[in-house]
């Protein structure tokens, strides 16, 4: 359907319209009530969606907050390129919290398994403190994980960034209470109620550009933990792993060392929508090695101040 000329007010609004309106309302509330919001921006589809919604929320004005990238140093080059072009196109200020800097000067040590996702927490918290950000937008969705399914839209964090799932603030109607004390900050999740399929249907409807990784392309890959992993400097194949060329795409885009691709011929947005609608695996189940560590991997990382 063409969204541009469809104004479905006579028949009630559809799911995507309802989700869009809810998200824009949340983004505007946070901007109105906080001093220094920032958006966590990875170049992944969810943070691109939040940015797109923010641009709509303040149109024809500019997006009134900077973006923050927690850079693990293990990036897909296409994603960094996309990040920089997006920031330039919208005239945004980009803040970067670099995990590599922390490794270089010894504030953090490389983990034995080589993954850097768990190392993001400290640079993130330091960047929040340095930027004096009292609200941090994230693109997390409740359908991603069973711990995220429990989180509020405005989630209060203490000075260590910790989430206390047993003691969350009630969240009533659409009246958000962002009050916090010195040292605390709030994580705001405007697309909490979107599913992966909603995101893709909306990307199709709005014609939103994404990094090319999300669409089928040929790549040198090898099989590990039931996922296709890209051959790269930071994720080389072990001697016993067979490298082959396959047509793959990414369902999530994160740290190269722990994000897997799925075999797919979905080369266009419409193909991806069709593929996601019939997928038998969840997004993270299919692509994230770091969430397979334990039953409650996400909950534990969130308690420690992760997104």
């Amino acid at each position: 359907m063409s969204a541009i000329d469809t104004i479905p007010f006579e028949t009630g609004i559809d799911t995507l319209d309802a989700l869009e309106s809810e998200s824009i309302h949340i983004i505007r509330e946070v901007v109105a009530e906080f001093e220094r919001p920032v958006l966590l921006f990875s170049g992944g589809k969810d943070s691109v969606l939040v940015l797109h919604l923010a641009a709509k929320a303040f149109w024809p004005g500019r997006v009134p907050f900077p973006v923050l990238h927690v850079d693990t140093g293990h990036n897909f080059p296409e994603v960094i390129d996309f990040r920089d072009r997006t920031v330039a196109r919208l005239g945004l200020r980009l803040e970067v919290a670099s995990v590599q800097d922390y490794l270089d000067d010894g504030r953090l040590q490389e983990r034995a398994d080589g993954t850097r996702n768990p190392l993001q927490t400290q640079p993130l918290l330091d960047a929040i403190a340095a930027g004096r950000h009292d609200a941090v937008f994230g693109g997390a969705r409740r359908d991603e994980d069973k711990a995220r399914a429990k989180e509020r839209i405005l989630s209060l964090r203490d000075e260590f960034g910790q989430w206390d799932p047993r003691n969350q603030r009630p969240e009533l109607w659409d009246l958000y209470n962002g009050r916090h004390t010195v040292g605390q900050h709030v994580r705001a999740f405007p697309i909490s109620n979107w599913t992966e399929l909603d995101v893709w249907r909306y990307i199709e409807r709005e014609g939103i550009e994404l990094p090319p990784l999300y669409y089928a392309h040929e790549r040198e890959v090898y099989r590990r933990d039931g996922m296709w992993r890209a051959v790269s400097e930071v994720s080389p194949a072990r001697p016993d792993e067979v490298v082959e060329r396959r047509t793959v795409r990414y369902r999530t885009v994160g740290d190269m060392s722990c994000t897997g691709a799925v075999e797919s011929a979905a080369a266009s947005v419409a193909d991806v929508v069709a593929e996601v609608a019939t997928s038998t695996l969840t997004e993270r189940g299919a692509t994230r090695a770091d969430d397979r560590i334990s039953e409650a991997a996400m909950e534990d990382r969130k308690k420690d101040g992760y997104f």
């Binding site: 359907m1 541009i4 469809t6 104004i7 479905p8 007010f9 028949t11 009630g12 609004i13 559809d14 799911t15 995507l16 309802a18 869009e20 309106s21 824009i24 309302h25 505007r28 509330e29 901007v31 109105a32 709509k56 929320a57 303040f58 149109w59 024809p60 004005g61 500019r62 997006v63 919208l90 409740r142 359908d143 994980d145 069973k146 399914a149 429990k150 799932p165 047993r166 969350q168 603030r169 009630p170 969240e171 009533l172 109607w173 659409d174 009246l175 209470n177 009050r179 004390t181 909490s192 109620n193 599913t195 038998t280 695996l281 969840t282 189940g285 299919a286 039953e295 409650a296 909950e299």
Partner: protein
């Protein structure tokens, strides 16, 4: 035009089967993907669920926190999503334990329908009453009673009818709209997605059929109500227009009021009235991002351009001309006290209504609703999980309305000015005197004379 969104929440006493029902609903409507099912099956097997191999504890699909899995209870709301082709659903699985009632309130405030589970063996328990009282207070549009665990009673019609009658009576006493009652086994899947052969005596719809057909809140309300939009912020780029806007000069004097429509429909050319001040003007444009609309309705987020340069900012309310309520400084209100410290007369709090937060004083606690008798009894203070009736004095006028007439204009938060904690869910009511009113009942006594001192 895609499918519409419908939000529902579960409620009912601890262990009555809410999470199991939700898991069953997700599973039987094919919303569970292979890796999730595998993970839940593995955990069920490790814990020896059901005593037989292959039995799946469907509650694990929503009880996602470590502590929940260890204790076998729900602590906080889990939000899940599924779609049947007819509708997309947002489902809030709420906890039953009394300690976490505040989380159930969280789940219920946004619900179009609440599914209240009752264990057929136990009937109505204290938490069932409390949750139903909350549902009545919040005026959730639809109440569905799922009489659960009928597999344990041999699918007996008599046992079901006894419980159904008990709950229906309570629903009536609470002044709730008529409830839909469904006999179910969440564990076995009877009458959840499809009608069950085990209950030939039941002629009504399965649970999912009800959820697919009941009208949502916004469907019910847009038809009825006049336009109302609280202003979140004013968009005024003043030259700092977004990159990529073709013709920046066009927007040099752009000024629009951004907000989410709380009720009604707005069209270009409509006459509107603006709080504060009450000045009347005309809508000259409706923008949704770069797209111009002829009309928009609740709950859309838009930016409204007005003919006159009004001095309005965040906290302003734009309403259909003639529909702006008389601003008030004194409110009668019902509160659900969520915790933190107790409420005592004379307390200073913050009240957040729409997009405004003002200081407020609670000079008087009119009473506390007794859960057994449902009567309003005199009370010195309100404590956690109490439903109370109070008077509130605001430091500034607000254009609120009674919640029964307009949800979004009558709902407010009570916030602790020191800690910032949310202390209560508040709704604006008509004046109420003790022993006459009933929770959520619209037939409360309206007093035309001074009601000062009624708590004495």
């Amino acid at each position: 035009m895609g499918d519409a969104l419908f939000r529902f929440a579960t409620a009912g006493s601890v262990d009555d089967g809410k999470s199991t029902l939700v898991g069953r609903l997700l599973h039987d409507s094919k919303a569970i993907l292979a890796d999730q099912l595998e993970s839940v099956a593995r955990t069920s097997a490790e814990r020896g669920f059901g005593g037989e191999p292959g039995a799946i504890d469907f509650a694990l699909l929503t009880d996602g926190l470590r502590a929940e899995r260890e204790q076998g209870i729900t602590i906080d709301v889990a939000y899940r999503y599924f779609s049947t082709g007819r509708r997309s659903f947002i489902l809030a699985d709420c906890p039953g334990h009394v300690q976490y009632t505040r989380n159930m309130v969280t789940g219920a405030t946004t619900a179009d329908a609440v599914v209240v589970l009752v264990d057929a063996r136990n009937g109505v328990l204290e938490q069932t009453r409390r949750h139903l009282a909350v549902v009545a207070l919040l005026r959730v549009p639809h109440v569905i009673i799922a009489v659960n665990k009928i597999d344990l009673l041999g699918y007996s019609e008599a046992a079901y009818t006894a419980v159904a009658d008990e709950v229906t009576t309570l629903v009536g006493e609470l002044g709730l709209p008529e409830a839909h009652v469904v006999p179910v086994s969440a564990l076995a899947g009877d009458n959840i997605v499809d009608r069950s052969a085990n209950t030939p005596w039941y002629r009504g719809p399965a649970l999912l059929e009800l959820l697919e057909t009941l009208p949502s809140l916004d469907e019910l309300e847009t038809e009825l109500e006049a336009l109302r939009m609280p202003v979140q912020l004013v968009i005024r780029p003043q030259g700092a227009v977004a990159h990529g806007v073709d013709d920046p000069d066009r927007f040099r004097d752009y000024r629009a009021f951004a907000g989410r429509i709380a009720s009604g429909t707005v069209r270009v050319g409509d006459r509107v009235q603006v709080f504060p001040g009450g000045a009347t003007t005309v809508v000259t444009g409706i923008d949704a991002g770069p797209r111009e609309l002829d009309a928009a309705s609740a709950p859309q987020s838009v930016s409204l351009r007005l003919a006159d340069q009004l001095d309005a900012a965040r906290g302003a309310v734009i309403a259909a001309a003639g529909a702006l309520p008389e601003p008030r400084r004194e409110l009668d209100a019902a509160l659900f006290w969520l915790g933190g410290r107790a409420l005592r007369p004379g307390a200073r709090v913050l009240v957040k209504s729409g997009t405004t937060t003002v200081q407020a004083l609670v000079p008087e606690i009119v009473g506390r609703r007794d859960l057994d008798s449902l009567e309003l009894e005199p009370a010195e203070h309100l404590e956690i999980n109490d439903i109370g009736q109070v008077r509130v004095r605001l430091s500034a006028e607000l254009p609120v309305e009674e919640y029964v007439a307009h949800r979004r204009a009558g709902a407010f938060l009570v916030i602790d000015p020191q800690s910032g904690a949310t202390l209560a869910a508040g709704i604006v009511t008509a004046p109420v005197t003790p022993t006459t009113g009933r929770a959520g009942n619209t037939s409360t006594t309206r007093t035309t004379t001074d009601t000062e001192g009624v708590a004495a």
